[in-house]
Point group: C2
């Protein structure tokens, strides 16, 4: 069975979950090469839609995602990547998870605490 990259212009969504805590940390997109790199190197690699190139998560911050297990769904058009995150948080805004905002009465409210200072990690690049 092959992954189905045909539904979304060569991309599939990749859900990144902390293998230990079960927390969903981020989502990204992978093209076929990013998926192969993730498998071969053992570190989650995405395709950046804005930069239009492969993106090794953590290449700037050092906060890589060590791949522990990869699953796919019934349609083989999405992957779930269980990882061990290296570093305090995956979000470039300084949070453990990119999903740090919660819907409350129709408003998105920050629901988590920052776990690191993004300016110290990314400099002016965050």
């Amino acid at each position: 069975m092959d992954l189905d990259f045909g539904k979304l212009d060569g991309l599939i969504p990749a859900v990144i979950q902390d293998a230990a805590s079960g927390r969903v940390l981020m989502t990204g997109f992978m093209n076929e090469e990013a998926f192969r790199m993730s498998v071969e190197t053992g570190f989650a690699t995405f395709y950046s839609r804005s930069r239009k190139k492969l993106w090794l998560k953590g290449e700037t911050s050092g906060h890589r995602l060590a791949v522990k297990e990869i699953r796919t769904d019934c349609d083989a058009d999405t992957v779930l990547v269980m990882v061990e995150p290296i570093g305090p948080g995956v979000c470039h805004e300084g949070y453990e998870s990119c999903f740090f905002r919660k819907l409350e009465n129709g408003e998105w409210k920050t629901a988590d605490e920052r776990v690191y200072d993004p300016a110290a990690v990314y400099g002016g690049k965050a």
Copy 2:
């Protein structure tokens, strides 16, 4: 802050996670109306890319997803929906989670047990 439906032809990926167990159950896409319906009705509603229409998860099977919490990520272009699943499994193939296949030595292997008989639930429609 508004969700960004502009990056993917009016759609955003929606990751569905069991609020109690933390298991990622499925992913789907929502357009703005599906998102609003999910919030207003309290049951996860998607936009079916193949059928090109709104899709209330569980409309055929009864296996609805009761929304407990909705989060969005730093770019506001993905939602994480924590749910209480109604019924034994969300996957139309009879599994608790659509992510029942695991990559092992380059092959996708079924890693979970079926939790219900899809033929009994979906008839010929699965």
